[in-house]
C-alpha cells in the first residue's frame, strides 16, 4: 500500500514542478512533511460529504473537519472552481477528492497530510502524464506468451513480451493498451489506476472477425451472406512458384486451376465452380480494385506481394461486378503498410533445383525390334529383323536419343525484399522481387541465357491521412522475360520419344545426327543452336485512390487506376546441320513483334454506415468507367543474317505475316452499382446488390444490362433456443443468395459488319495483290446471363476449434455467347457469335479447419473439397448435338449431358478366339484377328457402325480437393499441402498410346507392353499390329474408350519445413526473426496414369469441341527441392 502511494506521488511529480510558484510551495510542503509524523494508513480515512451547490472551499472545510488532512492552495485559484454537489457516505478520501475535482479546473496532490490544490495545467497530449505499466501475458491455459506486441493506443509506442511473457511499457494516462499476437484475438485494455495489467489472450479459432475485401469495400466475415473464400498471404508466399495461380491451386474449394503445359511462364486455366458455359469461362480478375481485362493479368504479380485473395463464387457476392461476374470474381489485394508500425525490413528467398519427372521409358532397342516383328507378323507381313540383327541391336546397347538427355536439373530461385512501416498519418510498403525459373530443357538456342522465365517486380503502396481524407497510391512495375526453344515443346518431346533406344543425338565428334525415324530434326541440336523464341513483358500498374470521410459513417471514395502493358516478342530461328541428312532453320526466320495495351478504370463510390440501436445499415453506391485498347505490329523476315538475324542481301520480308496493325481492339464499359447490407442484432442479415452495365460490345438498345442479387443470412446460434448447444456448436450461420449475373466476353465489334483488307491474297504476273475479307456480324448480340442460387452454412464447433463452411449452388447460364453450332457449312463463313446455348452447373463445396493447440505444439488441419456437374440444356436453336472429330476419336456436345464429352465406341474386351470373332458384330469391312478390340453393338443390329457410338466420359475434373496440415513446435514449423482431383477422364492419343502410331512412332514404351498375347488375354491394349493393317484399323482407327485413361490424382504438392532461430541469438546481430526452411514441390503423386502427368489438361477454358487432343507431349513436371531463408529486421 505504501509503495503504491509513493509511486503515485512520484508519477505525478514531473508535472508538478512546471511553475516556479509551485516549486516554492512544494518546498514548503516537504518541510511540513518532515515535521508531521503520519502513517500511511491515514490515507484510508473515510469521509461523509453531503453538500448541495457548495463552494469548493466549503468542501475542504468539511474534509478537514473529518480527517487529519490540511489543504494548501492559492485563494485566487479557488475562484475558478465550480459549485459542488456531493452525496458521499463513508467514502475513502481519495474517492471523495476524485469526485470533487471531477470537471474542476483544479487538481489536487496529496503530500503526507497536506492536500495541495493547484490549477490544472494546460498540457499538450505528448506531454501527458506517463505511467509505467507492467504485466504478464499468457494464453488461456496460463502459459506465458513471449513475443506479444503491447502497443499504446494508436501510437508507435510498443514493446514485446519477453520469454516469460512479461512486459513493461510507459504510456500516457488514459491510454488503451493493445495486445496482439498471431493466432490470438486482439485485446484492448484501458489503462486505469492499476499499474500491473496481466492479460490472458484468447486464441482465434474462428475468422468471423476477419475483414474481407468484397469489391468496392470490405465486410466482416460474420456479415457475409454469399459464398466467399479467402486465401491468405501465408498460403501463397510459401510456395516456390512464379505464378500466383499455381499458388492458389487447391487452396479454395471449387477454384479449379489446370494447365495445358507446365512450361515456365505459361498460362493456367482457371475456373470457379467448374465450367458453367460453353462460351468463355474465365473468372473476372480484380487487382487492388482495378478490373483486369483478362485473368492472365495475375501472371505478372509477384506472389510474395499478395496480402489476400478473395474469391466471390456466388451471384450474391459477385453481383457488384455485374456484367462480367457470371464466372465468379477473384479479388487480389496486395500488401500495404500499417499506421503506427515501426519500419520492418523483410527478406525472403529460396533457391532450389527442379528435377524433371520423365515418365515415359522406351523398351530396349532389341526388345523393340522383337515387338516390331511381332506387330508385322500379326499384320500378315514378314518380320523386319532376323534373330542375328536383334542380337546385333542388343549388342549396341542404349544410345542417348531420349528425353533424359534433353533435360537437366534446372535451378529456380526467388529473392524478395520489402520494407514496411507507418507513422501517425502515413504508411508504406515497398518491395522488390526477382524470380527466376530456368527451363528444364538444355541449351540456349545458340546465344544468350539458357531457356527460362525471369520476373522482376517493384511495388510501392503508400497511404497518407490528411485529416478526414485518406489517400492511397499503389504502383507496380513488372518486367518479365520468357525464353523458350524455337521448335516447340511438343515436337521436342515427340521426337525424343518416338525413336528407338539405340540411336544417339550426337556422334563422337559432336555432330548432330538424324536417323530414318527422325529424318527431319535433331532436337538436341535445335535446343543447343536452333534459335529461340523470347517474350518480353513490361507492365506498369497504378492505382490512386482517396477516401473522404464527410460525416461520421459517410465516406466518398474515388479511384483512378489502370495498367499499361508492353508485350514484345522475338523469334529467331538458326541453322543447325545434321549428319547424314537434314537441316533445321536454314530459312533464318526472324519475327519481331510488339503489342501495347492500356486499361483505365475510374470509380467513384460512397459508403454510408449507420447503426440505429440494433439495426445496422451499410450502403454503397457508385459509378465506374472502364476502357481498354490495344494495338500491335509484327515484322517477319526470312533469309536474315545467319548470326545476327538482321536484314542482309537476300532477306525476304514475309508480307502476309508482317503487319503494322495486329491485335487492334478496344472496348469500354460504363457502370453504376450498389450494395445495401442490413442486419438486426447481428443475427438476421439481408443484402441487396446490383449493377447496371453499358458495354461497347453490344449494339445500342442491346448494351445495357441490370444484374441484381439478394442475400439473406441467419446466425441461428444467437437464438435463445440454441443456447443449450453452444458448448458444442459455437456458431452456425445459414445463408442463401440468388442473383443474375452477366458475361460479355465476345470479340470486339461483332455487332457491326466490318471489312478488313489484307496483303498478298493473290498475285498476277508475279506481283501480289491484296484481298478483303468480311467479319460476319450479329446486331442482336447481348449479355450472357447466369442465374445462381446459393445455399450455405458457416459453422464453428468446440469453442471454435473446428470451423468450416458448406455451400450448395445451382447456376443456370442462358443466352450463352458463342458461335452458333447449328449453321451448316453451306453458309460459307464462320457465323458471328450469338446468344445461343444454355447450361446448368450444379455443385457444392466444403471446407473445414481444425486447430489443435497444446502447450508446446500447435497444429492445424484444413481440408477442402468440391464438386460440380454441368449439363447442357440447349445447344443452339433446336440442334440437339454437335460432334467434332478429334483425331481418332470424337467429342460431342449433346443436350442433357455434360457440355463436352468424349464420344466413340465402347470396347468389349478383345476377341479371344475364332468363335468369338465369328459371333461378334464388327465394323463394316473390318478384318480382325484374335487379340483385336471388340466393340459393343449398342443398338444390337449386328453391325458396328456410327449408331453404336456413345458418350464415353467427360474431361471435367470432379471432387477437386486440397488438404493442408501445419504444425509448429519449438521453433520448428512444417506445412504439408496435398492437392488433387478425385475423378477425371482423359483421352490420350498418339505414339504414347498406339504402338507404332502411323509409322511416326517407331518404338514401344514400357507402359505399352501390357498388350494382348495368348498368354496375356486380360491386357490393357490389343495385340500389336502395324499402322495400315486391318487390325490397326479396327483397334486404333475406331475411336473408342481404348483411348480413355483415369486422370484422377492426389499430389503432395508442397512441403515446407522451417526452423526459426531463437530470438535471443538473432537479436544480437540485429535480426528480429530468422527462419531457414527446406522446400519441396510436387514430391509425390498417386495416380493410375503413369506415363503422362495427370495435372495437365488438354483443354482450354471453354472446353471447346475443336480443342486439340493431347498426345502427352507436354513439358515435364518439375519436382522442386530447395531451401528458403526468411529474415526480418
Amino acid at each position: 500500500m505504501y509503495k503504491n502511494f509513493t509511486d503515485f506521488i512520484c508519477s505525478k511529480q514531473p508535472c508538478c514542478i512546471r511553475k516556479p510558484l509551485l516549486v516554492m510551495k512544494l518546498t514548503l510542503i516537504l518541510l511540513t512533511a518532515t515535521f508531521l509524523q503520519v502513517s500511511a494508513a491515514t490515507y484510508a480515512q473515510k469521509v461523509t460529504l453531503k453538500l448541495k451547490k457548495a463552494t469548493i472551499r466549503e468542501v475542504f472545510e468539511k474534509i478537514q473537519a473529518q480527517t487529519s488532512y490540511d489543504f494548501l492552495y492559492n485563494a485566487e485559484d479557488l475562484k475558478l472552481a465550480k459549485p459542488v454537489t456531493l452525496n458521499l457516505e463513508n467514502t475513502t478520501l481519495k474517492e471523495a477528492l476524485d469526485v470533487c475535482f471531477n470537471n474542476q479546473p483544479l487538481i489536487y496532490v496529496i503530500e503526507n497530510t497536506t492536500i495541495l490544490i493547484t490549477k490544472k495545467p494546460v498540457v499538450p497530449i505528448e506531454k501527458a502524464v506517463k505511467k509505467t505499466i507492467r504485466g504478464k501475458v499468457t494464453d488461456t491455459s496460463g502459459m506465458p506468451l513471449p513475443g506479444v506486441t503491447v502497443r499504446e493506443g494508436n501510437t508507435q509506442n510498443a514493446v514485446t513480451t519477453d520469454k516469460d511473457g512479461n512486459y513493461n511499457i510507459s504510456v500516457a494516462d488514459g491510454a488503451v493498451l493493445q495486445f496482439s499476437f498471431v493466432g490470438f484475438a486482439l485485446q484492448e485494455i484501458p489503462v486505469g489506476n492499476d499499474l500491473m495489467i496481466n492479460v490472458r489472450l484468447k486464441e482465434i479459432n474462428t475468422d468471423l472477425n476477419e475483414v474481407v475485401v468484397v469489391g468496392y469495400g470490405t465486410q466482416n466475415r460474420a456479415n457475409i451472406n454469399g459464398a466467399i473464400s479467402t486465401v491468405g498471404a501465408k498460403d501463397i508466399g510459401d510456395k516456390p512458384v512464379l505464378n500466383a495461380f499455381q499458388a492458389l491451386q487447391g487452396e479454395s474449394p471449387n477454384l479449379i486451376i489446370q494447365q495445358n503445359t507446365l512450361d515456365p511462364g505459361s498460362n493456367v486455366v482457371v475456373n470457379i465452380r467448374g465450367v458453367g458455359t460453353t462460351g468463355n469461362n474465365d473468372p473476372l480478375l480484380v487487382i487492388d480494385g482495378i478490373v483486369s481485362q483478362s485473368s492472365s493479368s495475375l501472371n505478372t504479380i509477384n506472389p510474395n506481394d499478395i496480402a489476400s485473395v478473395t474469391i466471390l463464387k456466388d451471384a450474391g457476392s459477385a453481383a457488384i461486378y455485374g456484367s462480367r461476374a457470371a464466372n465468379g470474381v477473384i479479388l487480389v489485394t496486395t500488401k500495404s503498410g500499417k499506421l503506427n508500425q515501426k519500419p520492418t525490413v523483410t527478406y525472403n528467398g529460396s533457391y532450389g533445383l527442379q528435377v524433371p519427372d520423365v515418365l515415359v521409358k522406351k523398351v530396349s532397342a532389341s526388345d523393340n525390334a522383337y515387338y516390331k516383328n511381332e506387330a508385322l507378323v500379326n499384320s500378315g507381313l514378314p518380320p523386319a529383323y532376323t534373330p542375328e540383327q536383334i542380337q546385333q541391336i542388343a549388342s549396341e546397347g542404349t544410345g542417348t536419343w531420349d528425353i533424359n538427355h534433353l533435360v537437366y536439373n534446372a535451378p529456380q530461385q526467388s529473392q524478395n525484399i520489402s520494407v514496411t512501416g507507418g507513422g501517425e498519418t502515413n504508411s508504406y510498403f515497398v518491395s522488390a522481387g526477382y524470380q527466376d525459373q530456368m527451363s528444364n530443357f538444355i541449351g540456349n538456342g545458340g546465344s544468350g541465357a539458357n531457356f527460362g522465365y525471369q520476373k522482376y517486380n517493384l511495388r510501392l503502396n503508400q497511404t497518407s491521412i490528411i485529416g478526414k481524407f485518406k489517400f492511397n497510391a499503389i504502383l507496380n512495375y513488372t518486367k518479365s522475360r520468357n525464353k523458350t526453344n524455337s521448335v516447340g515443346d511438343n515436337n521436342i518431346i515427340a521426337d525424343a520419344n518416338r525413336v528407338p533406344a539405340n540411336y544417339n543425338w550426337q556422334d563422337a565428334q559432336g555432330d548432330y545426327l538424324t536417323n530414318p525415324v527422325a529424318s527431319q530434326y535433331n532436337e538436341y541440336g535445335v535446343l543447343e543452336k536452333g534459335g529461340f523464341n523470347q517474350a518480353d513483358n513490361d507492365e506498369i500498374f497504378g492505382n490512386l485512390n482517396g477516401t473522404l470521410t464527410i460525416i461520421k459513417g459517410l465516406t466518398l471514395t474515388g479511384v483512378f487506376g489502370g495498367t499499361l502493358d508492353n508485350n514484345g516478342s522475338f523469334y529467331d530461328r538458326k541453322e543447325v546441320d545434321y549428319i547424314p541428312e537434314g537441316v533445321y532453320g536454314n530459312d533464318f526466320a526472324v519475327i519481331d513483334g510488339n503489342a501495347k495495351s492500356e486499361l483505365f478504370n475510374t470509380q467513384i463510390y460512397a459508403n454510408y454506415a449507420k447503426d440505429i440501436k440494433d439495426h445496422h445499415f451499410n450502403v454503397t453506391l457508385g459509378v465506374s468507367s472502364e476502357s481498354y485498347s490495344e494495338r500491335g505490329f509484327q515484322l517477319s523476315k526470312s533469309m536474315t543474317d545467319p548470326l545476327l538475324g538482321t536484314s542482309t542481301t537476300g532477306t525476304i520480308i514475309d508480307p502476309v505475316n508482317s503487319t503494322n496493325s495486329i491485335a487492334v481492339s478496344a472496348n469500354s464499359l460504363l457502370s453504376a452499382y450498389g450494395r445495401a447490407n442490413y442486419d438486426y442484432k447481428h443475427r438476421y442479415f439481408l443484402d441487396f446488390v446490383f449493377r447496371v452495365d453499358g458495354s461497347s460490345e453490344f449494339a445500342p438498345g442491346k448494351r445495357t444490362g441490370f444484374f441484381p442479387s439478394v442475400n439473406a443470412g441467419w446466425l441461428i446460434t444467437d437464438e435463445s433456443f440454441m443456447q443449450q448447444f453452444r458448448n458444442v456448436l459455437s456458431s452456425l450461420k445459414l445463408k442463401a443468395s440468388y442473383g443474375v449475373l452477366g458475361n460479355q466476353n465476345v470479340t470486339d465489334y461483332q455487332y457491326q459488319t466490318t471489312y478488313f483488307n489484307y496483303a498478298s491474297a493473290y498475285g498476277f504476273n508475279n506481283v501480289p495483290v491484296g484481298g478483303a475479307g468480311t467479319y460476319q456480324s450479329n446486331p442482336n448480340l447481348t449479355w450472357e446471363r447466369a442465374a445462381t442460387f446459393n445455399l450455405g452454412a458457416d459453422f464453428s464447433l468446440f469453442n471454435d476449434k473446428l470451423t468450416g463452411s458448406f455451400n450448395y449452388f445451382n447456376k443456370i447460364t442462358s443466352d450463352i455467347l458463342q458461335a452458333p453450332s447449328d449453321i451448316p457449312l453451306i453458309y460459307g463463313a464462320g457465323p458471328a457469335d450469338a446468344n445461343v446455348a444454355k447450361v446448368k452447373d450444379q455443385g457444392w463445396e466444403a471446407e473445414v479447419t481444425y486447430t489443435l493447440r497444446s502447450k508446446k505444439v500447435t497444429q492445424s488441419f484444413s481440408a477442402n473439397i468440391a464438386n460440380d456437374k454441368n449439363t447442357l440444356l440447349q445447344l443452339t436453336g433446336n440442334a440437339t448435338q454437335e460432334i467434332d472429330n478429334e483425331d481418332v476419336f470424337q467429342l460431342i456436345r449433346k443436350v442433357g449431358q455434360p457440355i463436352t464429352e468424349y464420344y466413340g465406341y465402347e470396347t468389349n474386351g478383345f476377341y479371344q478366339n475364332q468363335a468369338d470373332i465369328n459371333n461378334s458384330p464388327k465394323p463394316a469391312g473390318a478384318v480382325v484377328g484374335v487379340g483385336d478390340v471388340k466393340f459393343k453393338d449398342l443398338n444390337g443390329d449386328g453391325v458396328i457402325n456410327a449408331q453404336d457410338k456413345t458418350e464415353l466420359g467427360n474431361p471435367f475434373p470432379q471432387y477437386t480437393f486440397g488438404f493442408t496440415y501445419r504444425i509448429a513446435y519449438a521453433g520448428f514449423d512444417l506445412t504439408v499441402f496435398i492437392q488433387g482431383v478425385g475423378k477425371r477422364d482423359e483421352f490420350l492419343r498418339g505414339e504414347l498410346v498406339e504402338p507404332y502410331q502411323a509409322n511416326y512412332g517407331a518404338t514401344l514404351y514400357e507402359h505399352q507392353t501390357d498388350f494382348w498375347t495368348p498368354e496375356n488375354t486380360d491386357a490393357r491394349f490389343p495385340r500389336l499390329a502395324i499402322s495400315g493393317s486391318a487390325s490397326n484399323t479396327n483397334n486404333w482407327q475406331n475411336g473408342s474408350n481404348l483411348f480413355e485413361f483415369n486422370a484422377a490424382y492426389a499430389r503432395l504438392k508442397n512441403v515446407n519445413l522451417g526452423y526459426s532461430l531463437p530470438k535471443s541469438l538473432t537479436k544480437k546481430i540485429g535480426i528480429e526473426k530468422a527462419r531457414i526452411s527446406l522446400i519441396g514441390q510436387n514430391l509425390a503423386t498417386i495416380t493410375s496414369l503413369k506415363f503422362v502427368d495427370p495435372e495437365t489438361s488438354e483443354f482450354g477454358n471453354n472446353v471447346a469441341l475443336n480443342s486439340t487432343s493431347t498426345s502427352g507431349r507436354g513439358y515435364l513436371l518439375p519436382i522442386f527441392y530447395g531451401m528458403g531463408l526468411d529474415l526480418t529486421f
Binding site: 525415324v517 533469309m639 461497347s696 471489312y755 498475285g763 508475279n766 478483303a772 453451306i826 460459307g828 495400315g1028
Partner: protein, 550 residues
C-alpha cells in the same frame, strides 16, 4: 484541408471527364464498316481478289491425286478415302465442301454489294462481275462433281437460310454453271487483251475451257464439247490465241515459262517468296531436300506411260524390260516420276543436288552395315522414304526457297487439256480421224519428245479409247484431274479395287510378282462415285439429303 478537399473533388471530376466518358460506340480503326467499304475502288478490287484467292488451293490440287490410282499417301483421309472406309463424318468431305461454299459466299457477297460502288466505270464493273460469276460457277462445278446434287447458292444467304436450303439436282446445277459462263463470256477479255500485269485473270478462254470440262464430264454432251473446243482451237481471234508450249517440263518447272506461255488458260497464281506453296517438300526424295514422303506415284501410273514406240508396256512388241523398266518410255515419265536410278538435276536450285537417286533396297553405294538403308531407299514402314518406291519430279521448282517454298503457278486449265477433251469427244462420237489425231494426241506426243513415227501416227481406225485415256493420264498426271476421269469413265470400281502397288522392291516375288503392296483399296460402285454430303450439314440443314450408301 479545405483546399485538399476541393483538390480531391476537382481531380476526381477531371479524371472522370478525361477517361470516364469514353463512348460506348467504338468503331474499329483497322477495318472498314459496311457504310464505306464498297465505295472505295481499291476495296472492290481487294474483294474481287479475295474471290480469286479462294478459287482453289494447292492442297485440293495435289490431294486429288491420292484419291486416284495415280498416287498413294499414308496420311489421314488420303489413306482412308481410297481404302473405302470413308464415312459421312470423314473430315475431308466437310473440309472441301466448306472450301467451296466459302468461296461461293465471298462471290455472293461481292455480287450483292458491288452495286454500292458508283465510281468504277460500268464496263469494269461488268468485267469484275463476270470474273466473279466464273469463280462461283467453278466452285459449283467442283461441288457437283464430288457430291452430285448440291445446294445451289446464288445469293448471299443468311445463317437461317443456310439451315433450310435443299439440294438442287445435278443437271440443274450444271445448266446453271453453263448459263453463268455463257453470260460471263461477253464481259470477259480475251487472253490477248490482257496487259502483262493482269496475267492470270479470268478470260473468255478460261470460261470456254471450263465449259468444255463441264460438258465433257457429263458424258452425254460430247457434241457440245466439240463445239466449245473448236472455238478455242479454231476461233482464236475471238477467244484468245493458245498453242502448246514447246517444252513439257518447262510448263511446270521453268519459272518464266510456267508463268508466261501460250498454253496456260488459267492457273492458280503464286508469287515467289510471298504467296507460295510447299507441298513438294513432301514429294521430293529425302536426299535432295525432301522432308518425308507425303504422297508418292504408284506402279500403276508408271506402267501406263507408253514406250517410245507408242505401245503400251504389255502390248506385243513393246520392248518393255521388267528388269530395266524405265528406259525407252514416254519422256513424260521422267518429267513426272522419280524412279530408282533417276538422275536428279537440281538445276542450280538451293534444294537438292545433282545426283543419282537410289531407291532399290541395298542399291545406295553409301549403305553400310551400320546404316544399311540409304535415305531414299524403299524400306517398308519407314516414314522418310517412299512407300511405293517412287517420288515426284513434276512441279519441281529449281527457283524455290529452302524447303521447297515455291512460287510457281499450278495450272488449272491448259490448252493440252482442250486438245485431249477434243480428241476424247470426237472419238466418242465416232468422228476421230488422222487430222484430229495429228492436231491433238499427235501434237502432244511430238511436244512430249516422241520421235518414233509409230508413236506419232494415227493408230486408227479402230477403238483408240484406251490410247486417248492413257495419253490423258500421262499428260495430266499430278494436275488433279485423274479422279474426275476415272469417275466419269466409271472405271474407279476397277482401278480402285485391290492393291495400289509400288515398284518391284518387296522382295517377295510370290506376291504380286514382287511389286510393293502399298495399300489395299476398296471401291463400292454403289456408293463411292459420290462423296458423302458432310454428316454435320445433313444434321443441321433439315432439307439436305444424303447420298446413297452413307
Amino acid at each position: 484541408m479545405k483546399l485538399l478537399k476541393k483538390l480531391f473533388i476537382v481531380s476526381l471530376v477531371s479524371t472522370i471527364a478525361i477517361s470516364g466518358c469514353r463512348k460506348l460506340n467504338i468503331a474499329p480503326t483497322d477495318r472498314f464498316s459496311s457504310l464505306t467499304f464498297w465505295t472505295v475502288n481499291a476495296n472492290v478490287y481487294n474483294a474481287l481478289y479475295n474471290n480469286y484467292s479462294l478459287i482453289y488451293n494447292d492442297g485440293l490440287y495435289f490431294n486429288e491425286e491420292a484419291y486416284s490410282d495415280n498416287a498413294f499417301s499414308s496420311s489421314g483421309d488420303l489413306t482412308v478415302i481410297p481404302s473405302g472406309n470413308a464415312t459421312a463424318a470423314t473430315a475431308t468431305f466437310a473440309n472441301d465442301w466448306s472450301n467451296y461454299y466459302s468461296c461461293i459466299k465471298s462471290c455472293n457477297e461481292f455480287l450483292a454489294n458491288i452495286g454500292q460502288n458508283t465510281t468504277l466505270p460500268k464496263d469494269t464493273i461488268a468485267r469484275l462481275i463476270a470474273e466473279t460469276r466464273f469463280i462461283r460457277a467453278y466452285e459449283h462445278f467442283n461441288l457437283t462433281n464430288w457430291y452430285g446434287d448440291v445446294p445451289l447458292v446464288t445469293n448471299d444467304i443468311t445463317p437461317d437460310e443456310s439451315k433450310v436450303i435443299p439440294r438442287t439436282p445435278k443437271a440443274q446445277v450444271v445448266s446453271f454453271i453453263l448459263s453463268e459462263l455463257d453470260a460471263a463470256i461477253p464481259d470477259l477479255p480475251t487472253k490477248d487483251q490482257l496487259p502483262a500485269s493482269q496475267n492470270g485473270r479470268i478470260t473468255k478462254g478460261a470460261a470456254l475451257a471450263l465449259e468444255a470440262r463441264v460438258l465433257l464430264y457429263q458424258g452425254n454432251r460430247m457434241a457440245d464439247v466439240v463445239t466449245v473446243c473448236q472455238k478455242l482451237i479454231n476461233d482464236q481471234a475471238d477467244y484468245g490465241t493458245y498453242s502448246l508450249n514447246a517444252n513439257y517440263t518447262d510448263l511446270f518447272s521453268n519459272a518464266t515459262v510456267n508463268k508466261t506461255n501460250s498454253e496456260t488458260i488459267l492457273s492458280l497464281q503464286y508469287v515467289p517468296t510471298i504467296r507460295t506453296w510447299q507441298d513438294f517438300w513432301d514429294f521430293a526424295p529425302l536426299s535432295v531436300g525432301g522432308r518425308v514422303s507425303g504422297m508418292s506415284p504408284t506402279e500403276e501410273l508408271v506402267e501406263d506411260y507408253v514406250m517410245l514406240n507408242g505401245k503400251g508396256i504389255t502390248d506385243a512388241g513393246s520392248g518393255y524390260d521388267i528388269n530395266n523398266p524405265y528406259v525407252n518410255r514416254d519422256p513424260r515419265l521422267t518429267a513426272t516420276v522419280v524412279y530408282d536410278g533417276y538422275q536428279w538435276n537440281s538445276e542450280g536450285g538451293v534444294n537438292g543436288t545433282n545426283k543419282t537417286i537410289y531407291i532399290k533396297p541395298g542399291s545406295d553405294p553409301s549403305d553400310t552395315p551400320a546404316n544399311p538403308n540409304g535415305p531414299d531407299e524403299y524400306v517398308g514402314g519407314r516414314q522418310s522414304s517412299s512407300p511405293t518406291g517412287y517420288y515426284w519430279r513434276k512441279y519441281f521448282d529449281p527457283t524455290a526457297q529452302i524447303n521447297y517454298v515455291s512460287g510457281l503457278n499450278l495450272h488449272l486449265f491448259r490448252y493440252a487439256e482442250i486438245l485431249l477433251d477434243y480428241a476424247e469427244a470426237e472419238n466418242s462420237l465416232g468422228q476421230m480421224n488422222a487430222t484430229i489425231w495429228n492436231g491433238t494426241i499427235g501434237a502432244l506426243r511430238t511436244r512430249a519428245g516422241f520421235t518414233d513415227p509409230n508413236a506419232l501416227a494415227y493408230p486408227g481406225p479402230g477403238d483408240i479409247t484406251t490410247i486417248i485415256r492413257r495419253e490423258r493420264r500421262a499428260e495430266l498426271a499430278l494436275e488433279g484431274l485423274r479422279t474426275d476421269d476415272i469417275r466419269r469413265w466409271k472405271t474407279s470400281e476397277v482401278v480402285l479395287n485391290g492393291y495400289a502397288h509400288g515398284a518391284r522392291f518387296s522382295g517377295d516375288l510370290s506376291t504380286d510378282n514382287g511389286y510393293i503392296r502399298a495399300q489395299k483399296r476398296t471401291f463400292n460402285a454403289n456408293r463411292d462415285y459420290l462423296w458423302a454430303i458432310p454428316s454435320g450439314d445433313v444434321s443441321l440443314d433439315k432439307n439436305l439429303t444424303q447420298n446413297p450408301g452413307y
